[in-house]
Amino acid sequence: MTASVVRHGGFNELRDVRLGDGNEPCLGLATDVGTTTIVVCLVDMADGRILAASSGHNRQAACGDDVIHRIVCAETEGCAS
């Protein structure tokens, strides 16, 4: 059995339990959400190696170039949409 645990505030929180020996390394994502550009790095959590990276435009840019326009846009259409 393999358990995935997150430690915070002095507690261990169980996130996932699977059958078998989970030898395959756990992966993490580092995400930089920029107003214009978003960058994602895929990281091997065992040794910190960056396995892949990708970057692209934030599609919200259709609603305006800067953060103020994004807030105005969210206000008019409701931020859930």
Partner: protein
């Protein structure tokens, strides 16, 4: 707006997973850094008081979230750590920069700059820190300028 932000992030996660040949369920941790507006919108948190009185973010410190709950492409129970954004325009980028550089533990003064569409700076040391923010988009991306453009081919015609 919320969906556009999430779709952009998920598209890039998909690309990174494909190029590494990794399965989505192996992703168990996600760290997200962005300015306050960029963290509020994908999480469907009301952003209006960032630009209106009292000029504060609705949420400054986020609990650990689950990828499945907010719709990020990862193992549904993956832990999502969103960097705190302490003030309206002082967001997770600058907090991540402080943590990485460790300037808050050093005696000498350090100036850390994040020059993005939303530019933020922090100056300080182990005793105090000052932050400020302003839009750098017009200078580097031509945002809000009639004949402005991004720093790409054609921006400089000849020298």
């Amino acid at each position: 707006m919320s969906e556009m932000g999430l779709a952009s992030i998920n598209g890039l996660i998909g690309e990174a997973l494909d190029s590494a040949g990794a399965h989505v369920r192996r992703v168990k941790n996600i760290v997200v850094a962005g300015n306050t507006v960029m963290t509020h919108l994908p999480l469907q948190i009301e952003p209006r008081h960032i630009r209106r009185t009292p000029y504060i973010p609705t949420v400054a410190e986020f609990p650990i979230l689950e990828a499945g709950t907010i719709g990020l492409k990862a193992h549904p129970a993956a832990a999502v750590f969103v960097m705190p954004g302490p003030a309206s325009y002082v967001g997770g980028d600058i907090v991540a920069g402080v943590l990485l550089s460790g300037l808050h533990r050093e005696a000498p003064l350090t100036l850390f700059l994040d020059v993005g569409t939303n530019g933020e700076i922090v100056l300080g040391n182990h005793e105090w820190m000052l932050t400020a923010a302003c839009s750098a988009g017009p200078a580097f991306e031509g945002g809000g300028i009639r004949w402005g453009m991004r720093a790409e081919a054609g921006a400089v015609e000849n020298t």
